[in-house]
């Protein structure tokens, strides 16, 4: 339990820092920004209660908002994404997952993990960009930005997951 908490805290701090110091400054071709901090929510243990997931999602969104001067936007998007996390896992992996495992390539399988990450990121990004633009003023450009960011974030999360030593150990 304590272990879990410490691990969560570490993830939280590390990925928030990476996000706000490094990735927030990336605007690839002025359209795409990767949001790696979602990795924290994605990697929460499977058995975590909905209340906690929603709360932590809101918290990390709020912290990101504080650093990037976008009060509420990330928080709203993350809360929605966090809320949809358990239904997503149930949808892709079924109900018979052992409690307490961390989502990873090993536990979910490559395809399962990728689908899970992709749908999660899509939900979060669409919400985020819709709140950000709030009108369908330039729908094509908006769609382009969403797609590019989804692509980058998913790619980055999958890469990080592939190099994550911890998940390779704990998956056994």
């Amino acid at each position: 339990m304590i272990n879990n908490l410490l691990r969560g805290l570490l993830y939280f701090v590390v990925f928030v820092l990476i996000q706000v110091i490094l990735l927030n400054n990336i605007h690839f071709l002025r359209i795409a920004t990767p949001f790696l901090y979602l990795y924290f929510i994605i990697k929460l243990p499977v058995g975590t209660s909905q209340t906690q997931v929603v709360f932590f999602s809101f918290l990390i969104g709020l912290v990101i908002d504080m650093f990037s001067n976008t009060p509420g936007m990330h928080a709203a998007a993350c809360t929605l994404a966090g809320f949809s996390r358990r239904p997503l896992i149930r949808f892709f992996m079924g109900k018979d997952l052992p409690e307490g495992i961390y989502p990873s390539y090993k536990t979910f399988g490559y395809g399962g993990f990728f689908r899970y990450v992709l749908s999660f990121v899509i939900i979060q990004h669409v919400t985020l960009f819709l709140i950000e633009s709030l009108t369908l003023f330039d729908p094509l450009f908006l769609a382009l930005r969403v797609c590019a960011s989804v692509l980058m974030t998913t790619l980055l999360i999958c890469t990080v997951e592939a190099f994550n030593v911890e998940s390779q150990k704990s998956g056994e």
Partner: protein, 284 residues
């Protein structure tokens, strides 16, 4: 109750979710000028739409008032025009006779208007009458002239406290002294009893030069109407049977079928003029 509580506890992540979303969106709204502007402006689109729709509707409701004001203003301007024309005529006449004439500054234009609304009207009888909603209390008296914004309507015949009955041009009892604009010869206009659009101008001397489409105006001899108020235009003419006068068919300028607002012309010198004329006839 217990079940309800259980339900609430089981679904508590829903409430947390909704609460946190509301908090986030409140933050978005409070702290981001762009989103606030968008929300406010789309709200403005809706409220603006509603306001413009209601304005569109109420503008129709107000048309009556506006129309009345415009008519009032039009009346004032027409009065001014007549007054100025009168003064101009006097000055040109004076320059011919005596250049050193200085007109009396206390001299007043003897006509003024009372606005009135038609409350009863007929055009299809042989003798038609119009009732208007201004009477003795508003300073209306018998024998006052009545005009619309288009032209002559008739003469006030009977007056009660708040109403007056007008004998319009569409009544054989009413004969109006008229002339062709630009000439000084006058004739007498009367209705032929058939068509509400046309009247006949008789007793116009044969040598008067005119053409179809010429304007017929009041002569100003009757003390009822100022000179120069439009009556109608010549639509047809033929020689009268005694061969010394023309009979003109005049298309009336006033549309009696749609008559709604009229002006009653007050001439405060009318009584004086009539007195003098009566005295002259008695002495005759």
């Amino acid at each position: 109750m217990k079940k309800l509580l259980e339900f609430l506890i089981r679904k508590r992540h829903w409430f947390l979710f909704i609460l946190l979303e509301v908090v986030s969106l409140a933050l978005v709204y409070r702290n981001n000028a762009y989103q606030r502007n968008i929300i406010l402006s789309s709200a403005n689109v809706i409220t603006g739409h509603i306001a413009s729709t209601s304005g569109y509707v109420t503008s129709y409701l107000n048309l009556r008032e506006i129309n009345k004001e415009l008519l009032e203003r039009n009346g004032q301007l027409e009065l001014e025009l007549l007054e100025l024309r009168d003064r101009l005529d006097m000055m040109t006449a004076d320059t011919v006779t005596f250049a050193g004439f200085a007109p009396d500054s206390t001299e007043q234009f003897p006509y003024s208007f009372v606005m009135a609304e038609v409350v009863n009207n007929s055009v299809s009888h042989l003798s038609n009458y119009i009732t208007v909603n201004k009477g003795r209390k508003d300073g209306v008296a018998p024998d006052m002239g009545v005009v619309s914004e288009r032209g002559v309507v008739g003469i006030v015949s009977t007056v009660s406290d708040h109403f007056a009955v007008v004998i319009p041009l569409l009544n054989p009892k009413f004969r109006l002294s008229c002339k062709v604009l630009g000439s000084s010869y006058f004739g007498s206009l009367s209705w032929n009893g058939r068509n509400a659009q046309y009247a006949n101008l008789d007793e116009l001397p044969r040598h008067v030069v005119f053409d179809k489409g010429d304007t017929i105006v009041t002569s100003g001899y009757s003390a009822v109407f100022p000179a120069g108020i439009i009556v109608g235009v010549v639509s047809d003419f033929r020689k009268q049977h005694d061969d010394n006068f023309y009979s003109l068919e005049v298309k009336l300028a006033t549309n009696f079928r749609t008559l709604n607002d009229v002006r009653i012309i007050k001439n405060y010198r009318q009584a004086e003029q009539l007195d003098v004329e009566r005295e002259a006839k008695r002495n005759d």
